[in-house]
């Protein structure tokens, strides 16, 4: 979706859309309501108070500890394409003046996969929340663990979950937002143990990726299988929230769930990770 073009096509219904209208509508198709994926930076701009975001953990770089086939090339390609160094952007921000510790995933960076760096950034985001008494908000978008880092990626599931347990222990609310797609190792770790789980409409949400499931012999599935609507129906989500209501929903939850933090815990404007 090139911003310079006046028109574009909806990825779902294929109708032609005006770019300006599309952007004003937060990249949601006005005809079919399809929520197109957002780059992490744009998501931050749309969700948090203007100019409040302070990016942290910018010095973390993935390496290739397993010498895995084609990993270097794939990662370099993703860096060039996205202008970022990994699939997670993390830092602090405000939402209607309330400070929050945030992490936002970018699916365009190697499918948002979680390797050592992404796991470290999520962990630091949750640790900063626990340490400074700020609610944590994490936007998920990932195909799962990054297989190119092998067991190290698997262990990020445990590491991030441990950090979420810290938030729970000190009484800091943690909100996860499932955007398209939230899958596998990410869904089966920090994403699913948030206090509040919200999803965008129609987001793909599931444990086994299509190819892995096929490999395991899973064939007949319901039409809405692995959608936000499917997992909502089965009680795994608090709400499905359209993009235009996301900011206000998060803000209200931060206000209520984080309401007692002000008196019980010290807040700092800019946490130092």
């Amino acid at each position: 979706m090139d911003k310079s073009q006046a028109f574009l096509q909806c990825a779902n219904c294929k109708k032609i859309l005006f770019s300006i209208e599309f952007e004003q509508n937060l990249r949601v198709c006005p005809h079919c309501g399809h929520h197109h994926r957002l780059p992490a930076k744009l998501r931050i701009d749309l969700t948090f108070d203007e100019g409040s975001f302070q990016e942290l953990d910018t010095d973390l770089r993935s390496i290739d500890p397993l010498s895995f086939p084609e990993y270097e090339e794939k990662r370099k390609g993703a860096e060039a394409k996205t202008g970022t160094f990994d699939s997670i952007i993390s830092g602090s921000a405000r939402i209607d003046d309330n400070p929050v510790s945030i992490a936002v995933a970018d699916f365009t960076f190697m499918g948002g996969s979680m390797g050592s760096v992404a796991g470290e950034k999520i962990t630091r985001t949750l640790e900063r929340a626990a340490e400074h008494g700020m609610p944590a908000i994490v936007f998920c978008a990932s195909g799962g663990a990054r297989m190119q880092e092998g067991l190290l990626s698997l262990m990020q599931m445990a590491k991030t979950t441990a950090a979420a347990a810290r938030c729970a222990e000190v009484g800091v609310p943690y909100i996860a937002v499932f955007t398209d797609p939230t899958m596998a190792g990410v869904l089966a770790s920090y994403a699913s143990i948030a206090d509040i789980i919200i999803a965008e409409p129609k987001a793909l949400v599931g444990f086994a990726g299509a190819r892995v499931a096929k490999q395991a012999g899973v064939s007949k599935v319901p039409d809405d299988f692995q959608t936000a609507e499917f997992v909502f129906k089965h009680g795994m989500l608090d709400r499905i929230v359209p993009r235009k209501e996301m900011r206000s929903t998060l803000s209200t939850l931060v206000k209520t769930l984080g309401g007692n933090l002000r008196t019980e815990l010290i807040k700092e404007d800019v946490p130092h990770g």
Binding site: L154, M155, M157, S192, A208
Partner: protein, 324 residues
């Protein structure tokens, strides 16, 4: 490349079948000269067998480790439980409407001290395999484990986890009941525990299905077990769209115990009897038992808060990256 353990093991199996046959003959043989002759032949073949095992197991490649880890006669969790513990009582049910047979568990005694045991269980014949769902637990398996973890905390019992699963169950039922949440909640609960926890990978450590009961203070691996973020066949399907290239994927994934130790993921490699745990399950059990008791002895003197913090710090360090 052999596709499964039996194919890989065929030369050894044929050699051993030959030895058994000769032994049969020798037993029935009444002519002393012929008997001696047969016995010396048996001797020779047994030497060849030992030598073959020695050579085969000296340098098992990653794919061979996968095959051995999946060996049908490899001891499973219940085999270890019966050899290591006394007074084991299996407990069932997630108290949410479901029961699972791929994760089992319950309280037991280890050298006279109470512990809580949890583990994946595979089956040996077709009926058993189906009953155990091939060792692939559904959400109710993890939720049962969480119940047991809770009890362990309440009654101050160390938790021992035996890990042996190809993966968590990926089917429609499991998705409907929140398999991802169940795995995440399993890890979450393990991080809350203030009792010592020790996990040992005895066969296949299959990704999320494994870590859901293995976020422990100490994580051990049997010498020929494997631990991986994705099954090698699944990895090959994604990388090359060729699941049959599992052997190449196994190499790329670095899923052996040696690699896990090098990467700082596990604390110890537990040696197996010559030729693998399946050749001497009782000896394997004794080795596993002494490793578990040694680690528990180190953890038990720690204060509850220290036990929990030690576990946090252990996993907190995991990951390899650069700081620019």
């Amino acid at each position: 490349m052999a596709k499964n353990f039996d194919e890989w093991n065929r030369p050894l199996k044929e050699l051993e079948d030959g030895i058994d046959k000769l032994k049969d003959f020798a037993k029935k043989e009444t002519n002393p000269a012929k008997k001696t002759d047969l016995e010396s032949k048996i001797d020779e073949l047994e030497k060849r067998r030992d030598n073959y095992i020695e050579v085969m197991f000296q340098r098992l490649g990653p794919w061979e480790k996968v095959l051995v880890a999946r060996a049908p006669k490899r001891p499973y969790t219940l085999d270890y439980i019966s050899a290591i513990f006394t007074d084991f009582v299996e407990l069932q049910g997630d108290r949410r409407g479901f029961t699972d047979n791929a994760i089992i568990g319950g309280p037991a005694m280890l050298d006279g001290k109470p512990v809580m045991v949890v583990g994946h269980q595979k089956g040996r014949n077709i009926q058993e395999r189906q009953f155990r769902n091939f060792g692939m637990a559904k959400p109710e398996g993890y939720r049962k484990a969480i119940r047991l973890f809770d009890m362990a905390e309440r009654f101050r019992m160390p938790v021992i986890s035996f890990v042996d699963t190809p993966a968590a169950d990926p089917g429609v039922e499991s998705e409907s009941r929140g398999i991802s949440e169940a795995i995440a909640a399993g890890m979450f609960k393990m991080f809350e525990l203030t009792v010592p926890t020790v996990a040992i990978v005895i066969g296949e450590g299959g990704s999320g299905g494994a870590i859901g009961i293995a976020a422990s203070n100490r994580v051990l691996m049997l010498e020929h077990s494997v631990y991986s973020v994705i099954p090698p066949e699944g990895c090959a399907a994604i990388l090359w769209r060729m699941p049959e290239r599992g052997a190449d994927a196994a190499t790329a994934l670095k899923l052996t115990a040696e690699h896990a130790l090098q990467l700082g993921i596990i604390d110890e490699i537990v040696k197996e009897p010559k030729g693998g745990a399946h050749r001497d399950p009782l000896e394997a059990s004794q080795i596993v038992k002494s490793a578990i008791t040694r680690h528990l002895a180190e953890l038990t003197p720690l204060a509850p808060g220290e036990i929990k913090n030690e576990r946090y710090e252990k996993f907190r360090k995991m990951g390899i990256f650069e700081v620019a």
